[in-house]
């Protein structure tokens, strides 16, 4: 993908063009399948929110050389009276226990229980309690951040798309940009719903942060393509709108793919080497940026063409030429 994009943009330029508009049904189909699958995944599995929103405790310890068996841990935890706790063994050594908010005394009982099972590395523990009050507060705070971010992006879209009003109204461009953004968020959420069900991955503050960052980051790819479309419309060399879009996409392809690729590269580094806390954060960003690039190339501008042609066919819109 990348190598091809590089070759196209450097060697052959726009003499050779990939016709995106011609094959747009394929891209739509892929996106619709992904979106429907993601929505289904969210509907079936539901989103599992982390304890920072629900309130609760997380206790994490590392054993040397290896963690005890899951049943043993469960037995020890039940003795303390925490049957409902979620227990995870991550890697060979680390044990993560999620439960309702614990006080110090209870926590110490749990730790003592765990110590009886094996050798816990000193200083390897981490413990977090989020009381229900704080959880509620973080939930509200996060809602405000999400709301303001969405609002600011909508305002940004309204401002940056008002310049381009041919051959369809500027709000059509804005609308397709938003459709692409929704796609960029729904797909990663779907993946996380699935991961939540099978691997116990939770929607935590880092993941919401990641998705908001995707919002800010990936709207630009669409804006850049639309800017090119506007530029090429002014030059007016090409007869048909779809050709202009194709030309613009080909001109910006190298840029879009390469800029996203560098971001994906560092995200892959965090994903592989960055440790557990940052892993799912990086994954959310990775999915968001990846699908963001895909949707701004294959969805946003092509949707404009589809809307344009539908209206043209209905005779609702006079062809400029």
């Amino acid at each position: 993908m990348l190598a091809r994009a590089g070759k196209n943009s450097s060697a052959s330029g726009f003499n050779y063009m990939i016709s995106f508009t011609k094959h747009r049904k394929i891209f739509y189909t892929i996106s619709i399948i992904l979106t429907v699958a993601s929505l289904a995944s969210i509907a079936v599995f539901g989103l599992k929110f982390g304890i920072e929103f629900t309130g609760g405790s997380v206790l994490e310890v590392a054993y040397q050389p290896t963690a005890p068996a899951l049943e043993d841990i469960r037995r020890v935890i039940s003795v303390v009276g925490l049957e409902g706790a979620a227990i995870q063994v991550a890697g060979d050594q680390r044990v993560i226990i999620k439960t309702k908010p614990l006080d110090e005394a209870k926590k110490n009982e749990v730790v003592q229980g765990l110590q009886s099972l094996g050798n816990i590395v000193a200083g390897s523990e981490s413990f977090q309690i989020i009381g229900p009050v704080i959880g509620q507060e973080l939930k509200n705070k996060t809602k405000i951040v999400i709301f303001l971010s969405l609002l600011s992006i909508l305002i940004y879209i309204a401002i940056s798309f008002r310049k381009i009003s041919r051959p369809v109204k500027s709000f059509v461009y804005g609308f397709t940009g938003i459709v692409a953004l929704c796609h960029d968020i729904i797909v990663p959420l779907g993946v996380f719903a699935w991961l939540g069900h099978y691997l116990g991955v939770e929607i935590t503050i880092p993941i919401i942060t990641a998705l908001l960052t995707v919002f800010g980051y990936s709207i630009n790819d669409s804006v850049v393509v639309f800017d090119r479309i506007r530029e090429n419309l002014f030059k007016g060399k090409v007869e048909h709108f779809s050709q202009i879009v194709d030309q613009s996409l080909n001109q910006t392809l190298g840029r879009s793919v390469n800029t996203s690729f560098t971001v994906l590269l560092v995200l892959a580094a965090i994903l592989l080497f960055g440790g557990d806390t940052l892993r799912y954060f990086a994954l959310a960003l990775f999915l968001g940026v990846g699908f963001g690039t895909y949707s701004s190339i294959f969805i946003a501008s092509l949707l404009v063409v589809t809307i344009f042609e539908t209206r043209q066919n209905r005779g609702l819109l006079k062809n400029k030429k």
Binding site: E60, E125, F127, I205, N220, N258, T259, L272, G275, L285
Partner: protein, 454 residues
Amino acid sequence: MLLVFPQTVNKLLGYLNWKFIPNLSETPFKLGLDLKGGCHLVYEADVSQVPAKDQKEAMQGLRDVIERRVNLFGVTEAVVSYQEAGVNQRLVVEMPGVKDVNQAIEMIGKTPYLEFKQERPEAERDALLAKQQAFQDEMKASQGQPEAVVNAIVQKYSGELDLSDPYYPYFIASNLTGRYVKKATLSFDQTAMTPEILLNFNDEGAVLFKDLTEKNVGKKIAIYIDNSLISSPVVREAISGGNAQITGNFSNTEAKELVRNLNAGALPMPIKLISQTTVGPTLGAVSLRQSLMAAWFGLLGICLFMLVFYRFSGLIACISLITYGGILLCLFKFVPVTLSLAGIGGAVLSVGMAVDANVLIFERIKEERKKNESFQKSLELGFSRAWPSIRDSNLTTLLIAVIMFGFGSSFVKGFALTLSLGILTSMFSAMFVTKVLMQAFAGTRWEKFKRLWL
């Protein structure tokens, strides 16, 4: 290499050590609790019994008391602060590097304790003073001895002396405690303009205080908070009516602090632990190592990518990227930014976004060169035409970062801060460093190697 990362950076920064930036290399990076280990506690203070206008003062008193407790506990860089969350008053205690979290929590959880003590009978006092002297002598003699010996001495005396209180021989507890103080206020002596403290006891306290003063005219009364002596005024006369006046050799600030402490000691303000985050030091070190490893691999990957795709220009982009990294790390020290995992994540992400600007510029230059513009001309056009895209593409990310910084939790804040700093630095490094470096080759014979450049 990876493990000595901070030192390496410090060494590199040392080279940039201009005269007007003193000790840059000595300033350490500030690491957050998740990388250093430590604990973060949030308490909710029950202020339902405190009138609204006194709440701030009460919280300040509470803060001071707890800070003193934490310092006594031996946590060096502890930060105790209070914050309002709607109608709730919160106390946040951050203790980096604390070893025994349980004990720390236990110690903090006690409400401040105020007590009044009176002078000991002389004979008793002298006997205790002799013991204290003996204890001190033995301790001095045991210097350099194994710990067990010292412990044995401590053990021997702790039954008879309160070793944490050097004034123990002088004062003996009375039954008057902070429980009976209704209110403490600060006022000034009209003639001498020295600060004095007015204590107002409740009815029960008034009786106790009257008895206490009656018995101790001409003697000292010691005021203790959390078992440490705060002041020991001399009683001039028996005081009835439940009001006491403490004058002493204290400055305005000391007096103010004392009032605050007395009020805090007097106020029944229970605190409740509502959130706790504890990270073990080993886990913190592992997180730090892993996140730095990710940063290195990310940087390495990007450099390789730029070299392969943009050849010589890519090399220049790498140089400007390294400059960018240096500037960013300097900023982290200067601002200073407390680096958490989220912060490192933001910084690493910004490296990927930083190189975007170079990609945009190179793609534009490439286009201009295809139109057979001269090297110099295509550079100029490339930079000026890429600028709007660079500006816009960073603008939205910055916008979201600012919103996240303003309203988010601490993870979000750390990420948003380093990400925005990274983005701003990246724009500078691309528009300035890359440009200057590339222009240095314009007009030289290097520009002839067209294939080499892009």
